[in-house]
Amino acid sequence: MSIGILSSILLALAAAGYFIGRARAVSAAGGDTRKLHSLAGFYGQSVALFTAVPAFLLMAAWLFIQPILIESRVSGQLQQTLAPDASLSLVMADVRRLANAIDSIGTADEVAALSPEALTARLGEQGVAMGGDMSVAQVAAANEYRLLSNQSRTGMTVATIALALAGLAFALRRIRIDFRARNVTEQFVMVLMIAASLIAVLTTAGIVVSLLFETIHFFKLYPASDFFLSTTWSPKFGGGSDLGIWPLLWGTLYVSLIALIVAVPVGLMSAIYLAEYASPRVRTWVKPAIEILAGIPTIVYGLFALITVGPLLRDYFALPLGLGNSSSSVMTAGLVMGIMVIPFVSSLSDDIINAVPQSLRDGSLGLGATPSETVRQVVLPAALPGIVGAILLAASRAIGETMIVVMGAGAAAKLSLNPFEAMTTVTVKIVSQLTGDTEFASPETLVAFALGLTLFVITLALNILALWIVRRYREQYE
């Protein structure tokens, strides 16, 4: 049974449960709802919750665990028959594809009777492309896979509906006049809300665990010292690659540095102008206009770098100065990223400058300082920690940015000072090592997880530091 139908059945059961539960409560009170502990609706709600929620949770868990179990069972059988040099994950991909296509060819017995070549041809007719001809063991595995999937699907349907009915019966049996339905319902809802707020923690845990797990896996295949100390990056998918992080880290930092050189003066000065000089009318129009820059998706900036800024810098700066002939360069990516980061600096700085108490300004102006002297000598020193926090947040944003550098910075891993040369960054390499058909056993793919972990740690450290600074600063004046 498909998940859609199953979900509708569960929802229908829950709805039925609500009305039955409500009616049962009313009849238990002999039609006089004043005798009930709670409003009649709560009795219905408690039944509906006990019917739907456990069943849906079971369904989600089943869907998540089923493929893992089946996969390990089928691949365990297959492994013994496999040639030692064959890759299990590629073979399993074929098995899965065949398992999905079996119904369009014929019954399982017919498929098993076909020769490997005939099978590939038949699959081709159905538009299913295979990695190669299937061995007998693979066909058997595919049949097994399909059988297990179907069994498991049936099992899931039966189990969830049974659980829903059990929940329904349990909740209905509890209904009496003095059953504290409101308290039970509210307790239930509370548990659900706590679970929802835990999802954020689970996400972080998921990120850390999956990154760590694969990174450890990577360091078993490739020495960690080479990864952290080598200065060459040249992945070869045949093996024997150099996977040093330094060229990537250098590119990342260089691009981010240029971005900050663009964004900090522009962002800070516009924040000062908006906070100290602009009339309220100008402010209401200009502030949102600058914030549009933050709302534009990064892919747009990437395209802008690719079709406009890159060629422009190449034709008017790099070529005449003899510094390079590539339209994707650190400068291109840095400049465009700088534009993107402006609102991050300006918005936060604006808030922070506005939080500086007016009395400080009045004191300075009263002593005869001009407004600009007030800003430079009183407001900015007072706001400095917050502004540093804003810049750190912008830096973390720039370091983690992907699309602009993928489209604007190039793919060559180099340690060079020339800003008009194409260089690459950590994020670009994560994308290039993980897109396309990847096999999760080679260090060339797994390195992406180590890079991801590095990126996560750097940005997390910057964020925590920045948030800590900003929070401390806010407390200072509140």
Binding site: V201, L211, I299
Partner: protein, 451 residues
């Protein structure tokens, strides 16, 4: 302005004794003031100019994608050639491949050229046939299979011109560049001009750009956003359905019920940090958990939706909490005072009052998710997809594309026609974002209450 910061002893040194005449020092300070103010103004101007430049560059490159050059030719659909069995059964007619239809079309174009008396020196038959997009025969075939009654008739078919001829009318290709281009000859462009003069070739609005699927490397003129728009819509549905209830539930708990202790602090710090984790890290998470571990299919909208949900959740929780916090405590007190439970006071009174703010935050979160590209690259949304996904819920597991990823995909292709398509796709994306943000602003303006 007098210089009070100077010591009294220095005062007599003042060159001018009048407050009304500016001495050099005051003038210098005033000039510094004006300069500082100027820098601020220039910074704002620079930021706004960057915005205008960005939009101008995208729009000028992308608007031509919404127009397409078509060649109108009368085509005689010969039943003997296209329906060999002669029984008008679409299944059997499908045996006539696009190659056959291609021949029909090129013959028709040749006939039309001859009929209109167009003679161009050095133009051979192959070049005439090469005026038409490689997609045109497939489109004709689709039309005929959908409506077998057309067989035997002479219809006026609007055939797409190739990307180069199309580019000629958009300024991308010139007679000069055609001499160096192996895909187009100057003679073909002369023929295009002649056809245009006879009214057979025209450039008009291209609805196919919004409805057709992606096309292969050689046919930028036939590449459309149909699957990408649908895929993005599916993902947004998943994000909405999952993140609205979860986000609101989490916000209510944290804002209204959570005790102030270490555990709650941990959750809050966690959410603040998650909002700033680079989006690509969520892509890695999706790849490791949803695809490798749970075995969900690659390039499926469900995986994209789940990844974007995890990414959007913290960005929704933050404004939702702000909206809940903005409802004054007197509302809660009043509800509690007449006997409501805490849960009732929140669900019956606080939540409805906070709803406009929550919806605004939700829409803005969705808009951010719609434009997100990097995590989708890692979960295989870059795949080349020609088949439209089925209707949800089963369609959520079919391969699909996504709008921003389609843009990236097109920029990686060789033909310059794809740059125009990519920019056009960005315009579509920006229009969606504009609509969503306008909706959010209207909601905020009309329904948000200030207390």
């Amino acid at each position: 302005m007098t210089d009070l910061s100077a010591s009294p002893a220095a005062a007599p040194v003042r060159a001018s004794s009048s407050l009304l005449t500016l001495d050099a020092r005051v003038r210098r300070r005033n000039a510094a003031e004006a300069r500082f103010r100027g820098y601020g103004f220039a910074a704002i101007l620079l930021a706004l100019l960057a915005l205008v430049w960005l939009l101008y560059s995208i729009f000028s490159a992308g608007l031509p994608a919404f127009r397409q050059t078509v060649i109108q030719i009368p085509v005689t659909l010969d039943a003997a050639q296209l329906d060999k069995a002669g029984n008008r059964n679409p299944d059997e007619m499908a045996k006539a491949s696009t190659v056959t239809y291609g021949k029909v079309l090129s013959e028709a174009l040749k006939a039309a050229v001859a009929q209109n008396g167009i003679v161009i020196e050095g133009l051979d038959d192959k070049e005439i046939a090469g005026m038409l997009s490689q997609e045109a025969p497939a489109m004709l075939r689709r039309d005929v299979l959908a409506n077998p009654a057309l067989l035997g008739q002479t219809i006026t078919f609007q055939a797409y011109a190739t990307g180069r001829v199309d580019g000629y009318y958009k300024g991308r290709v010139t007679l000069d560049s055609a001499t160096r281009d192996s895909n187009v000859t100057p003679e073909q462009l002369h023929l295009a001009d002649a056809l245009k003069e006879k009214g057979l070739l025209s450039t008009s609005f291209n609805s196919g750009f919004l409805t057709m699927p992606d096309a292969s490397d050689k046919r930028p003129e036939a590449a459309g956003l149909g699957i990408a728009i649908l895929g993005s819509a599916y993902m947004m549905v998943v994000v909405l359905v999952l993140s609205l209830p979860i986000g609101v539930a989490a916000s209510i708990y944290l804002e209204e019920f959570a005790p102030k202790n270490r555990w709650t602090d941990l959750i809050e710090v966690n959410i603040a940090n998650l909002a700033a984790v680079p989006s690509i890290v969520f892509g890695i998470l999706g790849l490791a958990i949803f695809i490798n571990m749970a075995g969900l299919p690659q390039s499926a909208p469900i995986v994209g939706g789940l990844v974007l949900t995890l990414m959007t959740l913290p960005r929704i929780i933050i404004p939702t909490r702000a909206a809940l916090k903005a409802v004054p405590p007197s509302i809660r007190d009043a509800a509690l005072g007449v006997g409501a439970s805490k849960m009732q006071s929140i669900f019956h009174h606080v939540l409805p009052l906070a709803a406009p703010g929550i919806l605004t935050g939700m829409i803005i979160g969705l808009a951010q998710a719609l434009g997100e590209t990097a995590p989708l690259l890692l979960i295989g949304m870059v795949a080349f997809v020609r088949e439209f996904p089925a209707a949800p819920p089963s369609g959520l597991f079919d391969p699909a594309a996504a709008l921003p990823v389609q843009v990236y995909n097109w920029t990686q292709r060789g033909d310059p026609g794809f740059v125009e398509r990519a920019s056009g796709a960005i315009i579509v994306l920006l229009v969606f974002l504009l609509i969503m943000n306008t909706l959010a602003i209207i909601l905020r303006r009309r329904f948000e209450r200030r207390w």
